[in-house]
Symmetry: T
Subunit: 68 residues, 12 copies
């Protein structure tokens, strides 16, 4: 039997750290998709603010496609 998964790409942001930014991306995906399985970080960028930084993490998120 074969299984299939889909990959989507989400950018999460945070003024604290990349860890929080990655969590923001995954939690946003969790709101509308079930069966989330894994993620891969594909880009780390950010904005330079008057004070401090905005961390922007791009993550590919994989989730199982189910047959109805």
């Amino acid at each position: 039997m074969s299984k299939a998964f889909k990959l989507i790409e989400v950018v999460g942001t945070s003024s604290e750290s990349y860890a929080v930014a990655i969590n923001a991306a995954v939690e946003q995906a969790r709101k509308s998709i079930s069966g989330l399985g894994w993620f891969e970080v594909t880009d780390l960028r950010g904005a330079i603010l008057e004070k401090g930084l905005e961390y922007q993490a791009t993550v590919k998120i994989g989730f199982r496609l189910r047959d109805e």
Copy 2:
């Protein structure tokens, strides 16, 4: 507060130029998605026709995910 964005990948085509092909990709996305923010060109290809070329531009388009 953290924000999240989604990236989708669209290929636009044109017989005129890559500029028109990129516009075609973005305008197609605009029809069904609001909050489009930025794009990145990830591939430039094309078909060779009897006369002239068909330009094919692959673009990643980022847009804001909103909480309902």
Copy 3:
């Protein structure tokens, strides 16, 4: 006239071969999307089981976006 296509990324798996894994990914996409046109293999991975292997093929699948 310009056309537009969308690319999605799907992972297919199989205990037999990458050929079957790629087919699983495409057939899963065919269930809900029409106008599938082409695919690109972007990653070949797998799990090592007690006996044999599980082949995992990541494919980008392109399909035509139609104006309604």
Copy 4:
């Protein structure tokens, strides 16, 4: 039945734009090769002149190999 294609790499140049440079590369290939099918842009460079720029586009061009 299986088909085979060959890929060659050509650099076209133009003082106007990359579109003209890509056309120059393809038209040069058309002079001696039939069955040209598609191209991929692999490098965009240029020379900086006293006045203006010389655009240099590297393209891989695919064409069908025929059995005689």
Copy 5:
């Protein structure tokens, strides 16, 4: 004494598998070139047909250049 080799890039296709597609590319090269030595797979793509897939494998093929 130094030797030299040339690399050419060929795309083979097959409706069966990538193995057959790679063989098609190499056999096509064998028709007109002697001294073929090795190959590297540089791209795995395909077309999605009404029924089944067309596998397209791009291979770089190396062969010895001989002094006459």
Copy 6:
């Protein structure tokens, strides 16, 4: 509690197919290492023989490091 894994790179060969070549690489690793978990294909090459091909698959293999 945190876990750690090691990645090794092995090349398997076969005169039949890449599937057999990948299996050869994993089975060779299984002889001396326990706890093999997953693999990633990092290179697909081959030798062109008088008759047929020798498929060479490079795979990164991951296995769990255990504390004694």
Copy 7:
């Protein structure tokens, strides 16, 4: 005798096309640096505005370092 060159990376923007964006980057460099020789396009991105696009081209620009 050996020569040396320096590479700097500049992003030019334009609401018209990448050609204008690349020109903007080079002309900006020309204001303060002499001996500009060549450029390489390293990234093509853009912003999606209410109406139309802002093209952003990243170019590496090479210029000769002179001994005083």
Copy 8:
């Protein structure tokens, strides 16, 4: 109207985390450059010390070039 930006590459270090290392790189740039806008992480490395680690983050920093 077109704008231009320059990209510089800076390595920040920290014995605490990559977040602190990235901040060190940006703050160092802020001392002598105004108009800093964004950054991209291009490399994550480090030194292994007798006790603990030294985190080294390479970041490309973009800032606006202004006409005088």
Copy 9:
């Protein structure tokens, strides 16, 4: 006099952060190898759990090879 170093690739995991995951990888290596010198992060991935994330950091670790 010339020196030589070896690079090994280790994956560390943590439910807290990538910093802890990288430390886990390096500390695991320290148990059996002396003369560790530096590391490079080559992949950042993770598993999505019922609650929270498991961070997985792949690091290449360099250490000095000594003549006996």
Copy 10:
């Protein structure tokens, strides 16, 4: 007026150094092609012999295509 160039890929070998291997590749191309202009090193490999090494340098060589 626009010009066009072709790129070919040649592997040169030498038991002395990569410099000699690159020269071997270019000199071999010079035998049958005129108008050679530049080269780019794309791969550095080699064979390990009983005694010493065989250096193998892959170079892309560009030459001008002329209209007859």
Copy 11:
């Protein structure tokens, strides 16, 4: 305490070898910058002359940024 370094990219050339070309790049940087620490080779190219070759090595050079 955290330190910061800057990376610049310089191309050195030589008619003898890449070693001399890399030296030319570093020595040119040494004329105006103190605290040079390390380099990375990012590109190896060259020009094909009537007689012999001109070797062109692109190197990223890192140096310490000091607080005044």
Copy 12:
């Protein structure tokens, strides 16, 4: 019959040239491993000393795995 090979990654250093650095890496491997077959250069870096340079070449070395 299928064969298997292992790849290890070694960094060799030299104050003379990359050729000597690569030799140092291979000779170090030869001390403890038999059946060395080929190598690939994966990174060229170096340290900038008070006087001259230290060349650092990273090479992947392949050797045959034998069944006992």
